[in-house]
Amino acid sequence: MPKVLLIVPAYNEKLNIKKTIDDIINNTNYDYIIIDDCSKDGTKEICKENHFNYLSLPINYGLTSGIQLGMKYAYKYDYDIAIQFDGDGQHQAKYLQDLVKEIEENNTDIAIGSRFITKKKPKTTRMIGSMLISSVIKLTTGKTIKDPTSGMRAYNKEVIKRFVTNSSLTPEPDTLVYFIKKKMKIKEVQVEMSKREYGKSYLNPLKSIEYMINMLFSIIFIRAIT
């Protein structure tokens, strides 16, 4: 049995976090670590009351920093597999074993929980962005990744180590290109995601455009070449 850690980043997820952790505890026997990114709504207090396993950051530093901290934790306690699992209730714990199985049985380095392997992408603005990133990845690496922006990803030990030693790596699509270029094996596994019930996503139109520009530049001019 591999040692599996679920990294659950949470920022102002007071209303979702308990449900997420209950889902994890009821449907899996994996360890988890909540990364409370200095929430202002009392997410930390909820973790404390319920005796959840959590790390509490004193300064708000964003999702990338949160995942990197989770990776440091996984490295410190010698986990074999680390999985990003959103704290906003969109991910479902029942699909996690499929990701673990993919890494265990097929020697995959990164397994992505993908929404669109068997299902078609809906034509919303967000999915147009996703398609654009997919095609740029296809152009630069020749690999098809149908759901590059999925936030549900499982990493094996080698990848965890790279995350700890290289702080430019992020939980974003451009890092996938980096790993493809480093000859790592990346596979997608079909999962379903639900809509968020409470709270707001951090992406607004302006931020989305900024995100897209950052991703495209990073993939084309940095990750694809170096």
Binding site: I35, Y54, L55, S56, L57, P58, I59, Y61, S65, Q68, L69, K72, Y73, K76, S167
Partner: protein, 120 residues
């Protein structure tokens, strides 16, 4: 170069020079970081005092007016400063991030140890 421009440049340089020294005394600027500003100020003063040298260089490089050459030098100087500052900010950002992580991890460890001690 016109005499007005030279006077303006000299006055600005002297102000920049004095400002650097004042900020060091107030401990708001490190000596290492102030050197570049003092060097820049001295360079500008020299360019104003020996304007015939500047005129000779700029005309042999094909500039229409010597003042363009002075501005170009200033812009290059500023761009280098901005870029190095950018790098410095990124480095600081990285250090704060690691410190942030370190605090979270050691606080977690402390909590775990307390739990263990309570259990015993």
């Amino acid at each position: 170069m016109s005499i007005t421009l030279r006077i303006i440049l000299i006055i600005c340089s002297i102000i920049a020079f004095l400002l650097s020294i004042m900020k060091i005394k107030q401990a708001k600027l490190k000596v290492v970081n102030s050197v570049i500003w003092m060097v820049g100020a001295i360079l500008l003063i020299f360019m104003s005092l020996f304007s015939n040298v500047v005129e000779w260089i700029s005309s042999s490089l094909g500039f229409i007016a010597p003042v363009n050459f002075v501005f170009l030098i200033t812009i290059i100087f500023l761009l280098i400063e901005v870029f190095t500052d950018n790098i410095r900010i990124s480095e600081l950002n990285e250090k704060i991030k690691n410190l942030n992580h370190y605090i979270a991890l050691s606080e977690h460890e402390k909590r775990q140890n307390n739990l263990k001690n309570e259990g015993e």
